[in-house]
């Protein structure tokens, strides 16, 4: 299951990369990046998954003493939380940029913003 999830995660990353490289529309590029981000998150979570164990939350079913045998690795989950939020921050920023760029030239085609070069 973890393999499948991880493979899907990698596939999503590649699909996202491909989209970001081939779509000239700014918004579509950003969409592609969110897909790649989701892919990364899946990969990270999948790495921490351990067959037959439960979420790293202690409650009536998982006591503190038995935790070591019962729960999955909590670290990747903590990292993913951070990664998701950071991803949103960057996406929001890129969207604001896209809006600003559109405001200037009334186009979303990235190939039109090439004044700086060389």
């Amino acid at each position: 299951m973890a393999y499948l999830a991880m493979a899907t995660g990698f596939l999503l990353i590649l699909i996202g990369f491909y989209g970001a490289l081939t779509n000239r529309n700014l918004l579509r590029m950003i969409v592609a990046f969110t897909i790649a981000d989701t892919g990364v998150n899946i990969v990270i979570v999948a790495i921490g998954y351990m067959r037959g164990r439960t979420a790293p939350i202690l409650d009536s079913t998982v006591s503190a003493a038995a935790a070591v045998q019962r729960i999955i690795d909590p670290v990747p989950q903590a990292l993913v939380l951070t990664a998701i939020v950071i991803g949103l921050g960057v996406t929001a920023l890129m969207l604001a940029y896209a809006y600003k760029l559109y405001e200037k030239k009334r186009t979303l085609d990235i190939a039109r913003f090439t004044e700086l070069k060389g």
């Binding site: 299951m1 999503l12 529309n25 998954y49």
Partner: protein, 84 residues
């Protein structure tokens, strides 16, 4: 129940890949945004299966919820003025 989980996982994964392809190659931008949101949403279900409820909640609320709205806000501003 548990023997169904791998099949469910496979289905979810397949859905995500298809949705991602739609988001990348589809003609319409709004559909692409929605497809990307769908990828996130399905991913959050996958996270639940992978025993990560915290991540699932976050992904659902932020990844598929807020992000999609942000996209639509910008798309709305941009599209209405798009005369070309």
């Amino acid at each position: 129940m548990s023997h169904l989980l791998p099949w469910l996982t496979a289905l979810l994964c397949f859905t995500m890949v298809v949705a991602a392809l739609v988001a990348i190659r589809g003609k319409s931008t709004p559909i692409a945004i929605l497809a990307a949101g769908l990828v996130s949403l399905v991913a959050s279900v996958l996270f639940l299966i992978l025993a990560s409820p915290d991540v699932a909640m976050t992904e659902a609320a932020i990844g598929s919820g807020l992000t999609t709205f942000l996209f639509f806000f910008v798309l709305g501003r941009v599209r209405r003025g798009d005369h070309g």
